[in-house]
Amino acid sequence: MKTTTTLRPADLAEVRDAVRDTPGRLAVAGAGTAAGWAGDLDTVDAVLDLSALSGVITHNPGDMTVSAHAGTPLRALTDELAEHGQHVSLDAARIADGATLGGLVATGDSGPSSLVYGTMRDLVIGVTVVLADGTVARSGGHVIKNVAGYDLAKLLHGSHGTLGVLTEIVLRLHPVPQRAATLVVDAPLARAAELAARVLEGPYEPVALEWISHGSGQLLVRIEGTDEALPARVQRLQEVLDGGDEAADDPWLRHAELTRGSPEAAVLRIGARPSVLPALVADVAADAATVGLGTGVATVSLPPHAVAEAHGRVHAAGGTSQLRYRPPGADAPAWGPPPSALAVLRAVKTELDPDGRFGPGRFSPWM
C-alpha cells in the first residue's frame, strides 16, 4: 500500500498552495469524527488535515456573528461566545467529540434543535472555499440578511469533502436561553408520536421533540425561555403530555449516545415526513434509534446486511437516507437510489473539480 502524505496547512494561502502544488487526489479531513460517513474514501495521494487551520477570526457580539477558520472545533467557540451570552444553535452529537466547523458543514449535520434553528445550512452566512484548481472563492458575507450572488455555502453543505475545501466559515449566533427544561415521558414510539402531535398542535413551541429507544422508549420535549416564564410553560406542557417529569440528569446525553451508535452496528440517517417516520423506523428493524417527531429526521442502528433494504424502504416512503457508519469490513451501501437531480450534481462536480481530485468515492456509485 502506498503511503499517503498528510499536509497540515495553517492558513488560507497554505491551503491554496497545498491544493495547487500537490498532484493527484486529496482527502479533506477535519477532526476525524465523521471519517466513515457517506461512501468509503478511495485511495488518495494526500490528506489535507485542517486541524491547524483553527481559531476565531472575528466575533461581533453586537451583530451576533462569528467568523472562524474551518478547522476550528465547534466546541472551542463555546467559551468565547458564552461570555456574551451567545452560542451557535446547533446540537449535533459529534460536536462533543470535537467536530470541526468545516466537517459539520460538509456533512450537513444537525441535532434535535434543528426543529427550530435548522441545520448548519441555516446558520452559515458566509464561506471561503478553495477549489481543486486553487481558485479561492467567497460567498455570502458577515451580515445575516444578504441576497447578493449565489450561496456557495449551500453547495458545500452535504458535499462530504468532494467539491472544495472550506477554509473560513461565518456563522449567525443566537442568544443562550436563560433557562431550558426537558420533560421526559416513558412511552413506546407510537404513543410518543401521538403525544408529539398534540404538542405540535398547541402553542408550546418546543425546541426539540425526540423519541429515543432507551428502555422501552422515551419522549423528550425541550423548551427554552426566560426564568420568569418557563415554570408556567412547563406546567402547561405537563398538562398536554398527561405527565412528564423534568429530567434530573441530562437525557440529551443518552440521545447523543444513541445517535452515534455502537461499533458493531451500521448507522443510517433517515429523513421522511414526520407522519410516516415512526412506521418507517419500525419497518427497517432498527436495534436502536433516535426519532425527530417534529423534524422528520431519525438516526437508526441496524445490522449492516439490513442497510440496502432499509435504503429501499425509506425511498419508497418518499424519504432520504445516508449511511453514517459501517463497522470495519462490513459491506453496506452508503446511498440509496440516486436523487432526480443527479445530472446536476455531476455537472457541478465537473465544473468545480473536473479531475475528480477531492474525496473520491464519497458519492459512489452516484459519481
Binding site: 451583530d63 460567498s139 441576497v147 450561496d151 453547495l155 398547541g202 402553542p203 416564564a229
Partner: protein, 484 residues
Amino acid sequence: MALDDRVRTAFTRVLDPKDVLSDPVKCRAYECDGLTGYRVRPDLVLLPRDAEQVAAAVRVCHEFGVPFVARGAGTGLSGGALPVADGVVISLARLKKVLAVDPVNRRAVVQPGVTNLEITAAAAPHGLYYAPDPSSQQVCTIGGNVAENSGGAHCLKYGFTTNHVLSCEVVLPDGSVVTLGTDTAEQAGPDLRGVFLGSEGTLGITTSVTVRLLRTPESVRTLLADFPSVASAGDVVSDIVSAGIVPAAVEMMDTLAIEAAEEAVHAGYTVGVPAALVVELDGPVEECDAQFELVKAICEKHGCTRLHIAGSPEERAKIWKGRKAAFAAVGRISPDYFVQDGVVPRTRLAEVLDRIAGMGTDAGLRVANVFHAGDGNLHPLVLYSAAAGETERAERLSGEIAELCVEMGGSLSGEHGIGTDKACSMPKMFGEEDLATMHRVRHAFDPDGICNPGKVLPTPRLCGERPGKYKPHPLEETGAIERL
C-alpha cells in the same frame, strides 16, 4: 432581430396557440418588472397552464437556443424579470393552485403562481401560516419569492424564504424536470435546493414548491416608540439584542419617513421626532409578557419620548400600516425617488446613517430612511426632482450608498436581489475568483446560457447600460401592494 417563425410554431405545438402572445401591444405589458426604469419588449410571451407545458416550452427554448425569462407577478425591484431581447417570457401566472395543505406535517405544496399571502390563507384554518412576509405579499408569487429568497419584517426571528422551503420541482434549462430538496432538512449530498433559492431565476424555473408552515404564535405584542435621535433608537436595538431577546420585528423610521407616512395614512406617528421604532414580540404568552416589559424598560432608559402600545389587533394593524406606507408615501414629499436596499452590520447603523446624511448634504439631496433595523437592512430613499435635472446626481448618490454598505462590511442587497440593477456593482462586493466560481455554478445548471441571461453576474454588455429613475409600480399606485 425577431425570433423566426419556426420557433413560434414550435411553441404553438406545445402550448395552446392562444397562450403564445406575440402581439407587440400585449407583449408590452411584460416589458418591465417593479424596476420600471428598465424596459425591454419580449418577442413572445408564453402562458403555460401546467408544469408539463412549462417543461415543454423550455425544451423548445433549449432546442432553438432561445433565451427565456421566468416571470411571477413582476413585482421584483432589481429587474430580475426584465425580458431579454430576442427572447421569450414564460409567465407562471396561470400555475396558481394550492396543491396540498398538510397540517399534520405542517407543510403546503403550491404551484409557483400562488401568491405569498394565499399560502397563509390556505394554512390559516389549521392555525398555521407561512412565515416570510415581504410587504408585496398580496401580489408577489412564491416562485418569485423562491427566486429572490425574499424576506420581510418578521424574518429577523423566522428567517428568509430559504429557511422555509423544503423542496422545489424545477424545470432545468434543458427542459428536464428534477426535484431539489426533500421532505426534511436531511438531504443526500450537496444542498442544491439552497443554491437554487435566491438564484434569481437564472438556474431554472420552479413549477411546484413545498413550504414549511409554522404554528400561529399564541401572543403578539407591538409597540411604537419615539426617540430624540437615530443613535438612541439604534442603542435600543442593540440593548434588546444583548438582553438575549429575539424580537419578531424591529423597524425604524426617520423624520422624513415619518412625516411622509403620517401625511399619507394618519397612523398615529409623531411628526417631527427624529426617529421611531416599531418593536414586535411574539410567542407563548408568558414569554411575550415577560420580554415585553424588558423592551419597554430599555426604550425608557434611552430617553424614549413617547411609548405607544397596541392595545388591540386593530391598533397593531394601524402601527404596521404607518410603517408599511412609509415607502410609497415618500412620493408625497418628493416628485421622484430612488430606493436602495443595502445591508450593514447592525452595530454600524448609527454610523452609516450619519454618513448617508452627510453624503445627502454634500449632494444637495434629501434622503429618507425606513428600514429593518433588527437585521441592518437599510432602504434609503433618495429624493430628487427629475424636472429640476437632479436625476444623475440622485442616481450617483443611491449607488454610492449601496457601495458604502459593502464598505461597512455589509451587502449590496438584503432582499431585492441583484438582477439587472446591481449586476455591475457585484465587483464591489466580490472578487474575480468569487464571480468566476459563481459563473461555473451557473454553467453547471445552464451550459447554453439561455436561462435569464445577463442577470446577477456582471457582463460587459450589460454594464455599459444605464438604469432609469424609480417610478412607482402600477400596483403600488392602486394601493394593492405596499413597500417595506
